[in-house]
Symmetry: C2
Subunit: 467 residues, 2 copies
């Protein structure tokens, strides 16, 4: 399909010819994110300067019915930023400023294309803390975090992106610009459009300004690595820690294979992993009082020692802590470097983790695939990496999706759901019927239609192909 020439001219007039692209290299660049090996290049890439230009672009998109996909840092894991119908790729890269760090109100106003880690460091300089730390925080953008309702390792204590978003400036698909709420910690004023927008994966509007709550920064932390002889016992220990009255600031689970691959993939990691360690928990507590942290660490030891564990590693120095976190954060990339893969972002109430893990392995055996599991166990959020390895293409394309469907059916039967923090995007959308009734999905679709009557903004995402 050729791109409408008249529309192209109008778009060029909006952003100027330096900010509109049709060369193959740029289109290919914006055609992929971190989801499998998928490639869906847009026909045109536009890089608007501000909300006003985005508003004008979306009016053109409506006039000419051009599919328009907001594109962030392209670190997404569900294909949310892929231009599956071509059309316009709307890169937000020029909206990249931290507009205000408000130390009086503990808030920050930020544009979407600020790297999450850059934001965290900027507020940390003022003694403030933005706790949400997706594994990709060194490269992902805060706008994408809001669009996908990203989590990360500290969500277990501090919550996910949605818990910090106070207010959003949004360009609606119609081109209207609104603020969704107010810059307040409490708000009971009309329907919560802010929370409707968070996690809507760029289908309800283009986020152009974000007001985030900040909190005072804790000064100290203690990090423990606990090796378990049995993976399911590691999962059981997760719930036991909370029942003992402790809220760790991180509680991460890694299966044996995950840690092995991370160590192979990354340089300079030296952790003593024995062949009979089936899984590890990485457990952090944080606070302002080192004595209290030691008491809490002792309590955690008391809990995990009730299971079959090997010697616990206390990370004392920043160097050790960084090495362990580098290992944990490197798992995803390490596993994926190894083979073609599919990643599912299952989430259940945390006590159900052992049942989920066992179920995933059984399903893998039934359909003939290997999986490597790791994730934010404190939240019940288990990333399931299904490895192609030497599997035949036919099996990969036909049998594996059946297995994934069974994994999600299991997840939902445990009162969990399809995605904890990656979003549904493109690759999970045809499993949505497992989590939701037809009535429910139709309601969501009608909400989409209110915001976007011509279905021009990020079409083909979230909703199953057939209802």
């Amino acid at each position: 399909m050729n791109f409408n020439k008249e529309a192209f001219q109008k778009l060029t007039a909006i952003v100027g010819e330096n900010y509109i692209f049709t060369d193959a290299e740029t289109l290919m660049h914006f055609g992929h994110d971190e989801t499998e090996d998928l490639s869906f290049p847009p026909q045109v890439v536009i890089k608007p300067a501000n909300a006003q230009e985005i508003s004008e672009i979306l009016k053109i998109s409506n006039q000419y019915k051009i599919p328009t996909t907001p594109i962030g840092a392209r670190t997404g894991l569900s294909g949310g930023a892929l231009s599956i119908y071509g059309g316009i790729g709307l890169s937000l890269e020029r909206l990249n400023k931290i507009l205000e760090i408000d130390e009086n109100n503990l808030q920050v106003v930020v544009e979407p294309a600020v790297i999450t880690q850059v934001l965290r460091e900027a507020v940390a300089e003022k003694g403030l803390f933005y706790p949400v730390d997706p594994s990709s925080m060194g490269s992902c953008w805060i706008g994408g975090n809001v669009a996908e309702n990203s989590g990360g390792a500290r969500a277990v204590k501090y919550g996910v992106t949605k818990d910090y978003v106070l207010n959003l400036e949004v360009v609606l698909p119609t081109g209207d610009i609104i603020w969704t709420g107010a810059n307040t910690l409490k708000n009971s004023t009309g329907y919560n459009l802010t929370q409707l927008m968070v996690g809507s994966e760029g289908t309800l509007g283009v986020i152009t300004k974000i007001v985030l709550k900040l909190i005072p920064q804790n000064k100290h932390n203690v990090l423990l690595l606990v090796p378990f002889y049995k993976a399911e016992q590691a999962c059981e220990a997760v719930s036991a820690i909370f029942r003992a009255g402790i809220v760790p600031s991180a509680l991460e689970f890694m299966e044996r294979d995950a840690i092995d691959w991370a160590i192979k993939f990354l340089d300079g990691i030296s952790v003593d992993i024995r062949p009979d360690h089936q899984a590890h928990l990485l457990i952090e507590v944080d606070g302002n009082y080192p004595d209290v942290l030691m008491i809490e660490a002792e309590k955690i030891l008391g809990v995990v020692e009730q299971f079959e564990i090997d010697e616990v590693l206390f990370a004392d120095t920043d160097e050790q802590k960084n090495a362990l976190w580098k290992m944990r954060r490197g798992v995803a990339e390490a596993v994926k470097s190894n083979s073609i893969y599919k990643e599912e972002d299952t989430v259940v109430p945390r006590y159900e983790l052992p049942t989920l893990l066992k179920g995933i392995k059984d399903i893998g055996n039934k359909y003939g695939f290997q999986s490597v599991c790791y994730g934010h166990a404190g939240d019940g959020n288990l990333h399931v990496n299904i490895i192609k390895g030497h599997m035949k293409n036919d099996n990969w394309q036909i049998e594996v999706p059946k297995g994934i469907r069974e994994i999600f059916e299991l997840t939902v039967s445990l009162k969990g759901t399809l995605s904890g923090e990656h979003g549904i995007g493109l690759v999970q959308k045809n499993y949505m019927d497992i989590a939701f009734s037809k009535v429910h999905l139709e309601l969501l679709e009608r909400i989409k239609a209110i915001f976007d009557p011509n279905n021009i903004l990020n079409p083909g995402k979230i909703f199953p192909d057939e209802l």
Copy 2:
């Protein structure tokens, strides 16, 4: 308007004749809440047993186009549960069970008509904590808290109702029954219907089951009462405490008059209030380690001593603490017992509190009304009680609304909004244009129309009479 006889027969068949009422006493009883002296009785009161019966009732409401208003504990402060168009008053009182306290996952499943304090005490017996504590928690219901997104004194550290709601069973206005989400701490699976439902004031559905997150209970707290010679300095101190890196578990502001009236109204409160104390802050820190709490209390003292204060009262004993909290929680009733009043639930970023307080007093002077202000200062949430006293009826009906409009204009100009925790309901709806553009309000109205095409569920709330 007479109630349709055929509809009445069908409704009787659904709930049985013991649970449908048309006697004047019952209708009057269900015609008021705690909002001013308003009275809007329904024509029929129905007390369904469960979601299925509610579903059948709502289908009748649709068939005969009968306005249907969900009614909880009638402790609301914005008139959300008033049957302003008559019709059916849908009392949820029979859905009053705590269905499951899940100690493994730190969750509780509860029906809407459980008194919030009863819920808090039931989970506390298991060592668990549901932190949201509206001042009315001894009589309000958890369902109403969800409908209005209630806050309370501990919101400053622990968040409001929305921060604890994981999943809801809802009867949609069409009669369909859905669960909005999953019982998980993280969820990036489709639009966040859970958060759209929270705070929607019974206009988008009838909540029949609530899954709440719980947290481990902190064992200790310290409570300070700080008398300020200048009310605006008390407001300034609020922001300064957070900037010093402390997150109190409560930070309450009371103007002089509020405390005076509470002391007069309540028996057995003996707090030494001097005539030159203009305002007080009630400050609590909580945690598991008494030594740490003393350090934090000392830090707070260090902050407040930078302002003009009198001697700080340390509440040591449970008796003293309870007396102070009784005083704080009694303020609303005390002030209201004194005169006809209107209460506004303003909220701003907390650093703007001194500006808001000064502005309210100036506006009061301009329009000739007295106001008594108190509230959850840590959240920037100031309850403004406008006292009729000896004001003439004409002024009360004509001048005061102009003043309220100016107060809300000020609030919004400070990046705040109309309601922090009471909801918009009936009495604030005609101020919604101050907070939202026409485009925004139309979007909210279209969302309402998707859920409730015949506008039968709690009509006449939230949306202004004229857009």
